[in-house]
């Protein structure tokens, strides 16, 4: 027994070690190649320099303002897209007339990349903060609406029979069967939406903004301040990771039965 636990700990540690080792190895390789001139350090500055630059930018407060503005856009835009997507998705899943009415509209707009609609968004909502949030909202809306509708439609028929046989009214049916039953697939859609939101905000900020992480990357590239540009890239990777951890935590909270 003791032996088994010992082996288990050893195994977990080994797995963790291997998991951490690959990014560290990559950074180390990068550092060495950059310092020895195998990689051109003008284009690929060593990681230590990038981290140093990050602290410099952090001290001046410039970094913080770009990050907070991007996060605000993502958060509000995300909510602006997810909330109507869940409502419409649930209605589409539950009522076939809703489904028949909304699915052509969804199908028409879904294939258009949100960034291609940016000019229209700018015309409609101006160049202020709101148009950036709308851009994110639109890009998040589609995966969530489709997954929510599919989540409801895929609830096992037997639970609908149980609800009917035990005389659930419309409200109880919605909150006790449709919503929790659709939740797993819906959360997958939200995960997807989160990834797309990050993608969209950076691209949108590169095209039409004068602040944010995307702007930071693009402006520093244009000014050939590459260490500063890499700081932007690292931040995106970092926040993407944080978001997916938050959503996974939310999933564990919302789906204790899975």
């Amino acid at each position: 027994m003791h032996n088994n636990i010992f082996q288990l700990i050893k195994k977990v540690n080994l797995q963790q070690f291997i998991t951490i080792s690959s990014p560290l190895l990559l950074l180390l390789l990068w550092e060495i190649c950059s310092n020895t001139g195998i990689l051109d350090s003008r284009f690929f500055p060593p990681p230590t320099l990038i981290i140093h630059t990050m602290f410099q930018l952090g001290e001046s407060g410039e970094l913080f303002s770009h990050v907070s503005i991007s996060l605000t856009r993502i958060l509000l835009g995300f909510l602006l897209g997810v909330i109507p997507a869940i409502c419409i998705g649930l209605l589409m899943g539950m009522y076939k007339y809703f489904r028949h009415f909304f699915s052509p509209i969804v199908m028409i707009f879904m294939p258009i990349p949100t960034l291609a609609m940016l000019p229209i968004i700018l015309i409609l909502f101006g160049i202020g903060e709101f148009s950036k949030m709308v851009t994110i909202a639109i890009s998040v809306f589609f995966p969530v609406v489709i997954n929510t509708a599919a989540g409801v439609a895929n609830i096992d028929r037997i639970y609908l029979d149980v609800a009917k046989n035990y005389q659930a009214n419309a409200k109880d049916f919605f909150f006790r069967i449709a919503l929790p039953g659709a939740m797993p697939v819906m959360l997958e859609g939200i995960q997807m939406g989160q990834a797309i939101a990050l993608l969209t905000i950076v691209a949108a900020e590169m095209i039409g903004a004068n602040s944010g992480i995307g702007y930071l990357i693009w402006m520093n590239y244009k000014a050939f301040l590459l260490p500063e540009m890499y700081v932007g890239l690292i931040l995106i990777s970092f926040f993407g990771y944080i978001f997916s951890i938050i959503l996974r935590g939310l999933e564990a909270k919302l789906l204790p039965w899975k």
Binding site: D156, V162, K164, Y166, Q167, D172, R176, L255, K258
Partner: protein
């Protein structure tokens, strides 16, 4: 007065141009407190008949009358579904309380009924668990407790033990009988196992395959409680077994010839 009266009931399923007669010319009276088994080969329409009684399907012709005491507020029927009828996102106690919650009974009554039947099926230590953590036998206990806790006039059971192993099946059959003997509710129980029908019922209705008809109405006035040993060893019961066996054999052969 009979509890349930079925007159000239038939059910036809239309599929495009084709149709299937699932049930035809069912005439039936079931007394209050009777334990009736519907026994027949698979595809004979026994589940359809039960679903019509459960108001999950409508009959094509004929009608069903269920006589309940006028002043009573409890539901006329509740169904114990085949495996997987337990709702995965509700805990054991939420599942057992489901019918009572759907009827919005006072909290106190709901809790009392739920506690009583959780105790009765021996799941007190598991009340906070989700179905994924339960064995097949435990899930069916939850399903049975849910139906009894709802306190219906009639219990409809759709092969509740079909997916269980032999040992678990015997245990659950005995538990079911002990709860039934305490409450004396009218039970309609579907099975394709002759042993199970002989062990449980006061009356066995043999059904023919497509279209489903009641072929034979067998009254069993064997003493209770019965054990599976008696069912297997007593010559009187063995005689009944053979009689039913021959009938079903005949039926299965005929459907093969078509």
């Amino acid at each position: 007065m009979a509890k349930i009266e079925i007159k000239q009931l038939s059910k036809r399923f239309n599929k495009g141009n084709k149709y299937i007669d699932a049930l035809s010319g069912i005439d039936l009276k079931i007394e209050d407190g009777e334990f009736v088994c519907l026994l027949g080969p698979s595809g004979c329409g026994k589940t359809t008949l039960l679903r019509i009684l459960a108001s999950l399907e409508t009959p094509t012709t004929g009608n069903i009358t269920i006589h309940s005491a006028a002043a009573k507020k409890n539901p006329t029927q509740s169904m114990v579904f085949q495996e997987n009828g337990v709702i995965p996102w509700l805990t054991v106690e939420e599942n057992v309380a489901f019918g009572l919650k759907m009827r919005h009974l006072p909290e106190e009554i709901t809790r009392k009924q739920t506690d009583y039947y959780i105790e009765k099926v021996g799941l007190s230590n598991f009340r906070k668990l989700y179905p994924k953590e339960l064995s097949g036998g435990m899930k069916q206990r939850v399903s049975i407790a849910r139906a009894f806790a709802n306190d219906p006039d009639i219990l409809l059971m759709d092969e509740p033990f079909a997916a269980l192993d032999e040992q678990n099946k015997f245990i659950l059959q005995e538990e079911l009988l002990s709860i039934w003997q305490e409450t004396r509710k009218t039970v309609i129980f579907i099975t394709h196992s002759i042993d199970e029908a002989l062990l449980l019922s006061d009356r066995i209705l043999l059904m023919s395959a497509q279209p489903g008809r009641i072929m034979k109405d067998i009254k069993l006035d064997l003493p209770r409680p019965r054990s599976i040993e008696q069912v297997r060893s007593q010559s009187e019961i063995t005689q009944r077994f053979l009689e039913i066996w021959e009938h079903l054999q005949e039926e299965v052969k005929q459907t093969r010839l078509i």
